[in-house]
Amino acid sequence: MSETVNYDSVVTMLTTVANKLKDNRDHLSQLDSATGDGDHGTAIAKVADAIVATIEKDESKELKKLLKDIGWAAMSTDAGSTSPLYGSLFMGMSEAVPEEGAIDCAAFATIMESGIAKLRKNTKAEVGCKTMIDTIVPAMAAIRASADGGKNILEALTDGAEAADKGAESTKDMLATFGRAKNIGERARGHIDPGATSMAILFTGLKEGLE
């Protein structure tokens, strides 16, 4: 059943993501208090609400449109850096949804890559800069490798979620060169980046939503 995904299964995946993100609201804000301005949880909850609200009012039942609308709604949440980053992730994903045909693991990986590419247009941050990029890059690499290796979507997402968690964890000892945490220099060390954490939750949510 995880050989392909469609509108309904993606809706379930995204709903799971939204719920998990909301469950982590306070935790994410606490992480942001240590290195930033303490509002990442609030921001993420707004994005989660935007996902849920867009799904609820979508009448098209078309995945391409749904993802684009989620992206636009996420960008409209006025939630600091989070809105454009998450917003462009979904808008970029939409751009790669094929007009016709089923979405298999390779197509799914391409959709994710397209989202990440659009997200990364917002920032010059690379791996090692103590941002959500530290989660996204290894997670995407794992998903692509699994897809290339012939695994199904659930297996690929399982590998991706595992890599995402490691990526988020890796930010702990870094100095920040992007995001507000860069302002505090050495004091950022020892704290996990909030955006890296919320992205890891996103990958886990996608996986769990498909299970």
Partner: protein, 333 residues
């Protein structure tokens, strides 16, 4: 325990603020599409429009400077948060004109990201926009790359200069050039003494010991270059002026703009006491202070502290600063 603030539902802060502001100044500004503050009476379309964006919570900035002679519109995000690109592009569509739009963005990542996305959409739609980024905070050092220097209260005199040039009928390139002139010759340094309460979460936005101050504090409580024991007003003013003036390229013989921008709880009495010393210091260096701004321009809720801002002026910038304006929080006859 309720927050010690006059608020209703914390989620409604920004819309209620904007409604109150536009009701109080309905002769000057109006609220469009929930989050866009525009002049009540639009400027002639033959002239360049000036647009800015930024989070709420810093009143009177940014929307307090929408009005004849200054901004044409500001797009407001939620408290301390950039507005999303969809609203920004909406404002650009409203201001679309052949003369073009100067789009002023303060260097904070959320604003820059939203700004860039809106700019990309605007280009696709054939809207003529030129973006200028303010980045005059010298807390991380005056020589670090622009990306690492935040935009603080210096946007306000930049709005004035650009707005006056636009009002005078200058082209977009000319307006941009004059804005870049002050942008490249200005510097700000902030100092914090007491914290503020985030009006949505109710939390203190930072901590500072009872006998400490922090020079370089950011606008949302982002830590600065480190806390130190409190100094007197004169010591603080001199220490900061010594950094701000050279960073703004001000040297003996220059005409300068000197601004003390109260963060919130610091009284106007204190601001004038600090100004007194900064002014004396600048004049002792052979500079001539030809324009002064003392008061609350860009605040951080009820934070105790201030920003010291300086800009090197020439005759053109001086005249633009003195040109008429009628924005609610910057009126010049």
């Amino acid at each position: 325990m309720p927050m010690k603030k006059f608020i209703n539902n914390p989620d409604d802060l920004t819309p209620e603020l904007l409604q109150g502001y536009c009701a109080a100044h309905s002769d000057k500004v109006k609220l469009v599409s929930d989050k866009i503050v525009m002049r009540a009476k639009a400027k002639d379309e033959s002239k360049v429009a000036i647009l800015t964006i930024g989070g709420a919570g810093h009143e009177p900035a940014l929307s307090g400077f929408v009005g004849d002679g200054m901004l044409d519109a500001s797009v407001v995000g939620d408290v301390f948060a950039a507005p999303g690109a969809p609203k920004v592009i909406e404002a650009m569509r409203l201001l679309k004109r052949d003369a073009g739009i100067l789009f002023v963005v303060l260097n904070h990542e959320g604003d820059v990201m939203s700004g860039n996305m809106a700019l990309e959409m605007a280009k696709e739609e054939g809207i003529n926009v030129k973006m200028i980024l303010t980045h005059e905070d010298i807390a991380p050092g005056a020589d670090v790359p622009i990306e690492n220097r935040r935009g603080l209260g210096g946007c306000v005199p930049l709005f004035k200069v650009a707005g006056a040039a636009a009002e005078a009928g200058k082209s977009l390139d000319e307006v941009y050039a004059v804005a870049e002139k002050i942008n490249n010759n200005m510097a700000t340094l902030a100092v914090a003494l007491t914290t503020a309460t985030h009006p949505q979460s109710g939390d203190a936005i930072f901590d500072l010991a009872d006998d400490e101050m922090e020079i370089g504090m950011g606008q949302h409580g982002e830590a600065g270059t480190g806390s130190s024991k409190m100094l007197t007003a004169d010591e603080t003013a001199e220490k900061m002026a010594k950094q701000v003036l050279p960073a703004a390229n001000c040297v003996s013989g220059d005409k300068i703009l000197l601004m003390i921008n109260g963060a919130g709880a610091t009284t106007l009495m204190e601001q004038f006491i600090v100004y007194r010393k900064a002014h004396a210091y600048a004049e002792a260096q052979g500079m001539k202070v030809v324009h002064s701004l003392v008061g609350e321009y860009l605040t951080v809720q009820e934070m105790g502290g201030f920003q010291m801002f300086a800009a090197k002026l020439d005759d053109e910038l001086e005249a633009l600063l003195n040109a008429p304006s009628n924005a609610p929080f910057w009126v010049t006859q």
